[in-house]
């Protein structure tokens, strides 16, 4: 495939790249860098590394919050229990399904919205951007309740509005089955987070150099060709960052499920499973092990995106 991007020389070999010897100035700059970033790093370690390590430690114990005296070391037993349990794999499948469906739909919708925002008349652009962003400003729990009330059989209007569609009647119980319940969960998630993805894509769209577009136009490329050969390749980093953030986010889905089904009819996500073990059952050991596994999966996804798809986070933020 031939694509048109600007040569990467600028990024890989900065003109001011230092040689093998570090000058005094570079050293003092590095020191200043540590001084500036140090406090933030310390806070990050305190609020993220400490709980993660604590969870890893707790996951090796049989430990119930209401029975601390009988806490005992069980090694990796909690992990064995979880990984040999059907419930874990069902939750995993549900979480993966929600992630794939929502992220895929959001990407397409987000692109469409980003294009609309980019090309809209300048007079209505601010209004349009604000309007598109509104769902993202809504708290997830609130949005989940709104969608639940809309679809619930006693308070909802969906059944009467869409009664003309085949398969929907006054008696359709959306939260009564796995498929239909997950559909509503996905719809709520898509509605709420598409603005986020479209905003990231809009930033990417703005980075596509206009000269390339014009050159392609002069060469007689159609709109579709320009999109495929110019716009998308130049936006790759932005797309990947948007996908990465949304995938990580979607994988932790909790609020909508908690509000809409509370995990009934096999709609439990992995986060919900961790909640149930830790908060409801008070089995800190088992729950920590679920959390650690969830953490590992999320790290895996991030690694896959960054190494596998070669996403350069710095470049996407315009630091390259």
């Amino acid at each position: 495939m031939t694509t048109t991007t600007l040569p990467p020389s600028e990024k890989t070999a900065p003109v001011s790249a230092p040689g093998h010897t570090t000058s005094d100035r570079a050293r003092s700059e590095r020191k200043l860098g540590w001084l500036l970033a140090g406090p933030a790093l310390a806070v990050m370690l305190l609020v993220t590394a400490y709980p993660i390590l604590q969870a890893v430690y707790d996951s090796l114990f049989d430990y119930r919050l209401t029975d601390p005296e009988n806490r005992s070391f069980t090694g990796l037993n909690n992990y064995v229990v979880i990984l040999s349990d059907r419930t874990w794999w069902i939750s995993m499948a549900v979480t993966v399904a929600i992630t794939v469906v929502t992220v895929a739909v959001e990407l397409v919708l987000g692109f469409a919205l980003a294009f609309v925002m980019a090309k809209a008349l300048s007079a209505i652009r601010p209004v349009l951007r604000a309007a598109i962003l509104i769902p993202y400003a809504v708290i997830t729990v609130v949005s989940a309740f709104a969608w639940r009330f809309a679809f619930a059989i006693d308070t909802g209007f969906v059944n009467s509005w869409f009664g003309w569609l085949p398969g929907i009647g006054a008696d359709t119980d959306w939260f009564g089955g796995q498929g239909s319940a997950l559909l509503v969960v996905c719809l709520a998630e898509i509605w709420k987070t598409t603005p986020f993805i479209s905003l990231l894509l809009l930033a990417g769209l703005a980075q596509v150099p206009e000269v390339l577009q014009e050159a392609a136009k002069v060469d007689g490329a159609t709109w579709w060709q320009r999109l495929r050969k110019v716009t998308l390749p130049n936006m790759k980093a932005a797309i990947m960052v948007a996908l990465l953030f949304r995938t990580l986010d979607a994988f932790r889905v909790f609020d909508s499920i908690f509000v809409m089904t509370a995990g009934a009819n096999n709609t439990e996500s992995v986060s919900f499973l961790a909640y149930r073990q830790t908060i409801s059952r008070l089995e800190i050991g088992l729950g920590s092990a679920v959390s650690v596994l969830l953490f590992l999966v999320v790290v895996g996804i991030a690694a896959l995106f960054i190494k596998g798809f070669k996403v350069d986070l710095a470049q996407a933020r315009g630091e390259g």
Partner: protein
């Protein structure tokens, strides 16, 4: 405001930098002043009124009755203590989560707790409850319905103080029962209710949602059939023996399936909670339902708002919970609130004094009339005011007398959660398979060999 005004004048004279300096200085001064005021207010709270100890009572949300009782008891204490209330989340499970987290973290601010009876054993076994003074135990259990005492007891010791009690009645539309030829003056069975509803094509309201309400329903069925979810109890989770596979357990499963598949339970049984059921009963299709007494107050409220006809409320009838086997007394669901005193409270003696005031006959009667929560003290049911406000009060008392609590175990969440997983959706349970699978599953969860 003059201060604001002066600031502006200064700014005009002193320019921009002056304005900022001025504002910053003023803000700092205001902050210091606010801190001073706050400090003196707090001081007034703590010791200003002569060092009166403050008891914090963690309450479940209600219509304001507990806060009023707290005020009354503060007054009655004559300066020995003050009671302040702190409101817990609405869901019983969330109330437990918050209290357990606080107690496990040694929170000394918890003096009094409004506890759902199902969580009393867990709190008691974890050592979260201060021991009940022996001389008090006799007084607070006098004339109290048996289930309330039972749920306040753990390992033969009273560990909590019974406050109010809740039970489910069988609600019916008089017109429907009459048309079906069902004599409601006598106790009826589930089979009769199903047949009457089918005959008239009306709804039977039961709670099939995968939530605590499902455990409530199943427990009432198995207890009415003469069995129990937990056949042999133990403080060691691995020694708990379940009674789901007993004849009563199989009968309850069978009945649950048949009621669910009777065609009269409405379109959303698998998500139906107490409110859904009440909504169905209020509709033109309403026939029968098992539910708590809030449905009556709810109907009266709707009449007042003009969203329901008086004729509909006049059609409401109530009787004891349906029987499983004809002639065998039913075991209606039991709920309510017991009062616990935090083990880390700085004033456990005063807190127990306060429980006696809170659960006095007058306060229980007030709470019944004001908030609609039935008393655990049977003498309250002789109060003319109660009888006037609640025409079904006598039925409630009778129902409470024969009510059966849900399993009393420190591992209640595991048992109830496991049950809900296996018995949901209620229409798909199989008397041959489900009791066995549920027993295996719950046992594995109790042994920490499976996730929930």
């Amino acid at each position: 405001m003059p201060d604001e005004q002066t600031g502006r004048d200064d700014a005009v004279r002193g320019g921009r930098a002056g304005l900022f300096r001025q504002r910053r200085w003023r803000r700092a001064l205001a902050g210091a002043a606010a801190a001073g005021v706050l400090g003196s207010t707090l001081a007034a709270c703590g010791g200003g009124s002569g060092g009166v100890p403050t008891l914090t009572w963690y309450i479940n949300p209600d219509a304001g009755g507990q806060t009023e009782i707290a005020a009354r008891c503060t007054e009655a204490a004559g300066g020995r203590y003050r009671i302040e209330t702190a409101t817990l989340p609405r869901e019983a499970s969330a109330q437990r989560e918050q209290l357990v987290r606080r107690l496990a973290a040694n929170d000394t601010s918890i003096d009094l707790m409004s506890l759902d009876p199902i969580f009393v054993p867990e709190f008691a076994q974890a050592g979260f409850l201060a021991p009940v003074p022996p001389e008090l135990a006799g007084r607070v259990t006098e004339d109290v319905v048996p289930a309330a005492v039972e749920t306040s007891t753990w390992e033969d010791q009273l560990v909590a103080v019974p406050f109010w009690s809740n039970t489910q009645l069988l609600w019916y539309r008089k017109s429907v029962a009459e048309a079906a030829g069902l004599d409601m003056t006598q106790p009826v069975t589930w089979d009769q209710v199903v047949a009457a509803a089918q005959d008239q094509d009306k709804l039977i309201g039961v709670q099939g949602i995968r939530a605590e309400a499902l455990t409530v329903w199943f427990n009432a069925l198995i207890e009415s059939a003469g069995g129990s979810i937990i056949a042999e109890n133990s403080t060691d989770p691995e020694q708990v023996t379940l009674g789901l596979e007993s004849d009563a357990g199989i009968r309850a499963t069978e009945l649950m399936r048949d009621i669910s598949n009777s065609g009269q339970t409405g379109p959303a049984l698998s998500t139906a909670n107490e409110d859904t059921t009440a909504t169905g009963f209020e509709s033109a299709d309403g026939g029968f339902m098992v539910n708590y007494s809030f449905v009556y107050a709810r109907a009266l409220g709707k009449v007042e708002d003009g969203t329901m006809d008086q004729a509909t409320v006049d059609d409401y009838g109530w009787t004891l919970y349906p029987q499983v086997d004809e002639g065998t007394e039913s075991a209606p669901p039991y709920g309510g609130i017991n009062l616990g005193v935090g083990a880390l409270s700085e004033h456990p003696d005063l807190a127990y004094d306060a429980t006696e005031c809170i659960t006095s006959t007058e306060n229980q009667a007030y709470y019944f009339v004001h908030d609609g929560n039935a008393a655990s003290d049977t003498t309250v049911y002789d109060d003319p005011e109660v009888l006037e406000a609640f025409p079904m009060a006598e039925t409630i008392r009778d129902s409470l007398e024969q009510a059966a609590p849900r399993p009393l175990t420190a591992y209640y969440s595991e048992v109830s959660g496991g049950l809900q997983r296996e018995y949901h959706p209620t229409g798909s349970v199989d008397p041959e398979r489900t009791p066995r699978e549920a027993t295996e599953f719950i046992t594995a969860v109790l042994r920490k060999e499976q996730l929930l």
